[in-house]
Each structure stands twice: as C-alpha cells, then as structure tokens.
C-alpha cells in the first residue's frame, strides 16, 4: 500500500470481497467501457511526508513573502495583523473537518458561529440582515446585482467607474448569462434611468477616496434603483456604515478581517441587506430556534430560497459560505472588539496619511486626487509606475499597483498598521532616488 490514509489491509480486502461475492476489486468497475478502462496516469512519483514537506517549503521559498518584504499593495486584498487566536480556532478539527450543518443536533458549533458572523456583519455594516458568506467580494457583488434585477424587474446595471475594475469584470461575467447591459458611469453625474436595477458604489472607492455617498443615494433612489454599496470592512472601524446612508444591499470582501492574503484566496464575501429583501437573498442563512426541550439552538433557515430545495428557481446556485474564512472573521472581530477594530482602522488612517504627505513632498511626486481617503491613495509618479515598481523591487520593496491606465502616472499605494514608520520612510527615500 502506498496510501497512508487508507486503513484496509489485504486481509480486510479479501474478507470484504468475499462478503460482496466478487473475486477482485477490479470486477466492481465492470460498468466502465472496456476500451477506456485503466488508462494509467502519468504523475510524479509519490512522496513521503518528509519529502513533501521539504519540496513544498522549497516551492514556497520561491515566492517573496511579505512577512519579510515591505509591501504597499492593497487594491482589494489587505495585509493586517491576525492575532494567533484566529488560526487557533479555525484549525480545530471539529470546525475544519465538519460538513455544512444540515444535521443541527450535532452541528451547533458551526451554526452558532454563523449566527455570530451574521450578527457581526449586521453591526459592522449597519444593515438588518446578513447571510453566512459568499465566495468573495467580487462574486458577492455580481450576486447583489442579480438580486437587484429580481427585486426591481429592471434589466440594466449601473456601476460607478471608481468600482474595482476586477469587480466590474466579474459583474460582467455574471451579467452575460442574462444579457444584462452594464453601464459604467462617472461619480459626478451618473445618468440613471428608470431602466436601471441598481447603482453600485464602492466606499472608499478603488482609489482609496470617499465618494459622496449621500448624493449618490439620492440619485439612485430618485431613479427607483437599488443602492448597492461595497465598503472596505476595515474602514467601517471608523467611518459611517452604509446602513446609515440608505444602502439597500451591502457587499464586501471580508479578507481584511483575519483572513490571510494567501495569494488571493480563499476569502469570504460579506452580504447584507434590508429586512424586506430577505427572501431574495442568495446564500445560506442561520436562524435561532428551540429544541424540543426548550433549549436555544440554531438551524439553517429560509432554505426555500436555496438550490437544494428550490432547484432551478433558487435565488442562486451557491452552495458554500466559505465557512472557515467566515469563522476567521468572526473570531477576529470578537478578538479586536469594539476598541480594537477602531484602533486598527485609525492606525491605518494615520500611517497612510503620513506616507501620502511625505511622498507628496518628494520632488516629482504628487497626489492627483483630492478629498478624504482611508488607507489607500494614488501617487502620480515622475516615471511610469511600472519602472518605479521595478526599481523599488531592486531595493527590496513591493510598491503599489500600477493604475496609470486610469490615472496618468498613477500608482495606488496602501499603508496599513503593518507598515512601520521605518518602512514608510524607506519607501519615501527610495522613491526620491528613483524619481531623481
């Protein structure tokens, strides 16, 4: 045997075959057409646990970990400190190796955690109800747009041009199946009509700056469209939540809340809405109830919206809630708590402003955008951002995202609580050298 996860011995297999009444395991596969049987797989030879650990450590070492490299990238994925309790909890086998909690009597750990998650997302966003989680922020937005179409019966989508371009692409992919036109509009004057199901606004926007969310709310609702807001969850540690300025649906990338960057996934999408839209929500929901002895417990509920009951008339085909990531966010929010989250948000704010001010003072660099920003901002570089980034990398720094296609000479920088003053100063010095 070469598989350490299979307990059957040759003796076991003989006894089982005898009970089944066949001569060989091979006979169990008789239904497979003979001409396709036993194709043989060309794969690398099996590795022992020791060899595998070594080989993957070598592979991992070929990546530049930002644990060791100053990094100023954000743009939808953020480096924040993750307290050890988060991973301690999500690694527990009883959470990690359970299935979707379809048997509530023996799944209260997962169910109660989801109820906590839904509650915390509601508090953070200021909304009435939140689901158990979506794949990520981008696909959650696409689902929100489809939900707006179901609610309004209208068949055009409107997105501000300042929404993360990657999110815009995901919305287009989902919209394609239903032939929904997607209109991209500038924040100054979105030309909404009675054909639009929704207006999508990112807050802070892709470039890090706050939109005039109240004015945009008025315009969306004046046109009878739903107002979909995509906040950055860490910003909600200090800034007003979308529930306070009229959002109908709030979706967000939950990664910043205790989920490692992990090269882009797995993450978890947050999805919240107003009470009147509960039955049009996609995804899983957990509700509180009692058992026959009167004890408080939790169950999956309103499942008639979901694929396994409603089938082709379901609100979505989604069949996961990225539970371990949602659990990470739950533990993270509990661990930071009321004071901690605000504190982290403020650290990001102050450090980003320190960086922006210092970079803007370097000859050749400027801040092309004005207004209030949180932890991200755009710097106009004296040389193409691509070249600046290459030169930064030579100096051991991972710079910002090249957004020169949208903003002339623009580089989108992100500074969080993880970037110490020395790192920022080092960045400023390097930019000065590179710009000279």
């Amino acid at each position: 045997m070469s598989n350490p996860y299979v307990p059957n011995t040759d003796g076991d297999r003989r006894a089982m075959l005898e009970r089944i009444g066949v001569a060989s395991v091979d006979a169990l596969f008789d239904d497979i057409p003979a001409h396709c049987r036993n194709p043989g797989l060309t794969l690398p030879p099996a590795l022992s646990e020791m060899e595998l650990a070594r080989e993957l450590a070598q592979m991992a070492a070929r990546n530049r970990s930002i644990a060791e490299t100053p990094c100023f990238l954000g743009a939808g994925a953020y480096r924040h400190f993750i307290p050890s309790v988060v991973d301690y909890v999500i690694r527990q086998g009883a959470f990690a190796t359970a299935y979707t909690p379809y048997q509530p009597e023996i799944s209260q750990g997962t169910l109660q955690s989801i109820f906590e998650f839904q509650s915390l997302v509601c508090e953070l966003t200021g909304m009435d109800v939140a689901n158990a989680g979506m794949y990520d922020g981008a696909s959650a937005l696409a689902e929100a747009c489809l939900m707006a179409v179901r609610i309004t019966g209208r068949e055009r989508l409107a997105l501000l041009s300042t929404v993360n371009p990657s999110y815009q692409r995901v919305v287009r992919t989902y919209a394609e199946g239903h032939a929904l036109p997607v209109d991209v509009m500038t924040p100054d004057g979105p030309a909404l009509s009675e054909k639009h199901a929704c207006l999508v606004v990112q807050q802070p926007n892709f470039f890090g700056y706050l939109e005039d969310v109240e004015e945009l709310e008025r315009r969306a609702h004046a046109a009878g469209a739903l107002y979909i807001v995509v906040p950055e969850p860490m910003s909600l540690g200090m800034f007003r939540p979308p529930g306070e300025y009229g959002a109908d649906i709030v979706v967000a990338e939950g990664q910043a809340l205790g989920v490692p960057l992990s090269f882009g996934g797995p993450y978890v999408g947050l999805f919240a809405t107003r009470r009147e839209h509960i039955r049009q929500m996609p995804g899983r929901l957990v509700g509180q109830t009692k058992d026959v002895d009167g004890r408080t417990g939790y169950v999956l509920t309103l499942q008639t919206r979901e694929q396994h009951i409603r089938r082709e008339r379901a609100t979505s085909n989604i069949c996961t809630n990225e539970q371990l990531c949602a659990l990470a966010a739950t533990v993270y929010l509990c661990a930071l708590g009321k004071q901690g989250l605000r504190r982290v948000a403020e650290l990001c704010y102050h450090k980003a402003h320190y960086a922006a001010e210092r970079i803007a003072a370097v000859p050749g660099y400027s801040l092309p955008l004005t207004g209030t920003f949180f932890q991200e901002f755009v710097v106009r570089c004296p040389r193409p951002p691509r070249e600046v980034n290459a030169a930064l990398l030579e100096r051991g720094i991972i710079g910002g995202l090249d957004v020169s296609e949208q903003i002339d000479g623009g580089m989108l920088l992100c500074v969080t609580e993880m970037n110490g003053r020395e790192e920022v100063d080092h960045l400023v010095d390097a930019l000065r050298e590179i710009g000279a």
Partner: protein
C-alpha cells in the same frame, strides 16, 4: 465546561459574554504623527462589537467546537460529499509564509513558486480527467458548474449558435438546475430508466438544435456508472451540444477511467471532496474546470502559462468569459490538493478509488437484507438505499438518520436523490476501516430492528446529542437571523 452547560451555550452569544473595556489583543502605539481626523459627519458614532478577553474567546469557540460532529471525531458517511480524512501536513503547508503571506497582485517575478504550483496542478488535473486545459479560478463546485456552463455558452455563441436549453437528469444535484438558471439557460429534466441510467428514449426526445448541453453526474447520485455513456456522448454530439460532467463524484473514478476518454467536453472537480481539502463546515473549497481543446479559449481568466524563458505567467484565454472572482481562485485550497496528489502519486490515487468503491459495496452487501435496494446493481463510491420498508412501520428516513446520531455516527445524506423514495445515500470513502464499517452496519441493523419493535425510539431521536430535534418550522416562520441588542429588541 460540563455537557449540560455546553447544551445551554446557544442562549449566550459573544455579545452577552465579556464586559465593557475588555479586549483580546494589544496593538502598538501609533509611530507616526497623527493626521487630522476627517469631518465627524463622515465617522460612525458607535461600533457595537463584543468586548472579550483572550481566554474568554478561546473557551467560547473551543466549547462551540465540542458541539460539532466532524471527520476528525467520527464516521461521516454523507453521500455525494466524500467526507474523507484530511491530511494534517497540508494544513501546515498552506500556512507556509511563502504561500499564506503573498499578496495576489505582487510582481510576477516574486510569485514564481505559487505559479509553478498552479501550473503543475493544472497539468495534474488535466491528466487525471483526460482533458486538455484546466482553469483553477472557480471557488467552489457550484462556481465551477457556473463557469463551465458560461464557457459552453461563450463557445456556442462564438460559433454563431444561440441555444437556450440545458438538459439535466432527474438524479442531478440541486446545484445543477440552479446553475443552469443562474447562467441564463432553461432547464429541461431527463428521466432515469429502471436500471438507474439515463433514459435513452427520453434523451432522444429532448435533444434538438436548441440544446446547449447535457449535464451528467458520473457516477450519478445513485452511486451508479451510467452504462449508456458511450451512446449518450454520441447522441449529444450529433446535435452539436456539449457533454458536461459534474465531477463531484470523481473519487470513484481516480485512475480507473478518464472523464475525457468517455466523450465529455467539460468537467468540474471539487477539490474539497476528491482531493481531500477540509470541508470547513461549509467551505472554502475549490471547483476547477477541465475542458477539451475546443473550449480552452473560452475559460475564465487567469490561466497559468509558461513563457519561452521558462518563467510562469498569467494569461488571458483568447475568448475568455472573463473573471469569475476577484483574483486567481482559492490558492490555499490548491496548495492542499497539490500536496495530496504529490503525496499519493498515480498508484496512491488508484487505491483511493479502489477502496472507496470496495467500502461502498461492502456496506451494500451488509445492509441489503435490512433496507430496500432500489436498483439491483453493484455500486461505485456510494450506495443508495430506500427506507420505504421502515416507513411502512411509520418510521421515516429522517428518523433512521437521527437515531444513527445516538449510535455515534453522522447520518447519511437523506431524501436525495429525489427519484428514490425515502432515500438514504451512504458514502463511506476510502479512509474508513473495516472495523468502522462493521460498527456502522451493526448500528444500522439494530435501528432496522428498532423500527419494527420500538418505532418511537427512532421518532424521538436523537436522545444522546448536544441538542435534541430543533423546531425548523418556527425558525422559518419567525426568522431571528441576528443578535439583537437590548435597545433594539
């Protein structure tokens, strides 16, 4: 915490634990001069989050975990879910700094290890399925289904064909039907025949120029290999439609047959099933899609390719359907699946399918006297029984399921597939020992006797679980979906 206290945990949530002023984390002082704060009109007044100390948090969640049944604690024969053992090394590997602490938008030359892993994994999955190209972008099985159907749509439209229907057998997962609608197609069910195969006459009748694809689960949700597959592939292709395989049950076929060799054009895989990444209580998983060459130009972005100098690069397929997620897919899950394939190699993967199928047939043989077998055939990785004999005694399949909890087992999937009355769908997987299977069978046989002699024992089960039966109807009638602060209640 005593068992009794643990049973009462539901009444006290994080918000009700802790005290004002407590925190579980210390944070550094601000090491830069403070900036001017934004206008107060932009800031929130209150941030109503829990206030707990670190020990309180650890105890709260650890005690919650104790209320869960899991693969690490016992046998989890949930049909169609492949609840197999999850190797612990893989958890360490996914957390290596060079994997976990890498930003998705880092310069390509700083992530060559990650891209190499993705590139190799694309190759492994193509080899295992007998397909030509693989996209790792989808975040879950159902996401892979949607990606596949959108890819088929783009392919057909590129050929100038506008087709509106997708055929789905009546034994399909609910996700298949929902996927078809989410992708903007009309769903047409196809009946199964008396042997549990796709009914060829029904298929012939449904197939026309308006059909874009047939979505077939193989082995199907009865745990059976469709004996008509060669003919089905021929019929589907003759009308210009695509043959899609829901690969959720690929565990049964590893090394036995390649999906592509059977004539399928596209297949989605569930890394959290076949390739043993933890289910996590509901994700995260990953749902890569493998396709034949003609569909490759339509796959989602990004695809990992290799430049002439050997460097790995992200590529956008020529007629790509676009992006299905913000970044490159669930990389952390890919690391675990990659490790699984590397640790087993081809012979080890074949032992997976052999033992999964052996174990399922052993259960079939041991239980067929006590429970009705709707299709008189040997099964592959899972066996579906009917509880119709027990129902005649006033005991439902859900009662059998709940009673299993008292004997220390997770119930099988119940009432699915829909075409089997009172269905009990049992998938043991290859990682269970004969002793465990024997103990499970013993419990199932005792329960069958109890159904005859003491049916009330089943109807009121479970008796020995953290909670007893919960009122799901009340939960749906008056939904309480979040904690309410006292000032809001």
């Amino acid at each position: 915490m005593s068992d009794g206290e643990r049973r009462d945990m539901g009444s006290k949530l994080s918000f009700g634990r802790g005290r004002p002023g407590r925190t579980a984390v210390t944070l550094p002082d601000c090491d830069v001069p403070l900036a001017e704060m934004p206008s107060p009109s932009l800031l929130r007044d209150d941030l109503p989050l829990p206030e707990m100390s670190q020990p309180e948090i650890v105890r709260y969640f650890t005690n919650l975990a104790c209320l869960n049944y899991s693969v690490d604690t016992g046998f989890y024969p949930l049909g169609s879910c492949s609840m197999k053992y999850n190797p612990k090394l893989h958890e360490d590997l996914a957390r290596l700094s060079g994997f976990a602490q890498v930003h998705p938008l880092q310069p390509i030359e700083t992530v060559q290890g990650a891209l190499a892993l993705m590139h190799e994994l694309q190759g492994f999955l193509a080899e295992i399925t007998g397909m030509h190209a693989v996209s790792l972008a989808p975040a879950a099985g159902a996401h892979g289904e949607l990606t596949s159907i959108l890819t088929v749509r783009a392919y057909l439209e590129h050929r100038g064909e506008s087709r509106h229907k997708v055929l789905v057998p009546d034994s399909a997962h609910g996700t298949n039907l929902a996927t078809v609608s989410t992708a903007g197609f009309q769903c047409l069910p196809i009946a199964s025949d008396a042997r549990g195969n796709t009914d060829l006459a029904a298929l012939a009748e449904a197939l026309d120029e308006d059909v874009a694809a047939l979505m077939l689960t193989l082995p199907n949700t009865l745990g059976l290999f469709d004996q008509n597959i060669v003919q089905i592939a021929q019929m589907v292709h003759e009308t210009g439609a695509q043959l899609y395989c829901d690969g959720a049950n690929l565990n049964a076929l590893l090394g036995q047959v390649k999906i592509g060799d059977l004539g399928f054009d596209v297949v989605q895989m569930n890394l959290h099933k076949t390739f043993s990444t933890p289910h996590g209580g509901g994700g995260p998983g990953a749902g890569p899609v493998a396709v034949k060459a003609h569909l490759a130009p339509f796959l989602p972005s990004p695809f990992v390719g290799q430049a002439a100098n050997g460097a790995y690069v992200f590529e956008e397929p020529e007629h790509s359907i676009g992006k299905v997620g913000a970044f490159h897919g669930n990389f952390g899950i890919m690391v675990r699946a990659y490790a699984y394939i590397r640790s087993l190699g081809a012979p080890g993967l074949r032992e997976v399918s052999e033992n999964a199928v052996l174990n399922a047939n052993y259960l079939l043989a041991c239980l067929r006297e006590a429970y009705d077998l709707p299709y008189e055939r040997r099964c592959l990785h899972e066996v579906v029984f009917s509880g119709s004999r027990q129902r005649a005694k006033g005991v439902h399949t859900s009662d059998v399921a709940k009673r299993l909890i008292d004997y220390g087992f997770h119930p099988p999937t119940v009432y699915f597939p829909l075409i089997v009355d009172e269905a009990l769908m049992i998938e043991p997987t290859e990682t269970e020992s004969k002793e465990t299977l024997d103990a499970f069978c013993e419990a199932m046989l005792v329960i069958a006797r109890e159904a005859e002699e003491e049916p009330e024992l089943l109807r009121s089960a479970p008796h020995d679980a953290p909670l007893r039966r919960l009122d799901e109807a009340a939960a749906a009638r008056h939904p309480v979906l979040r904690w309410q602060r006292e000032d809001q209640a």
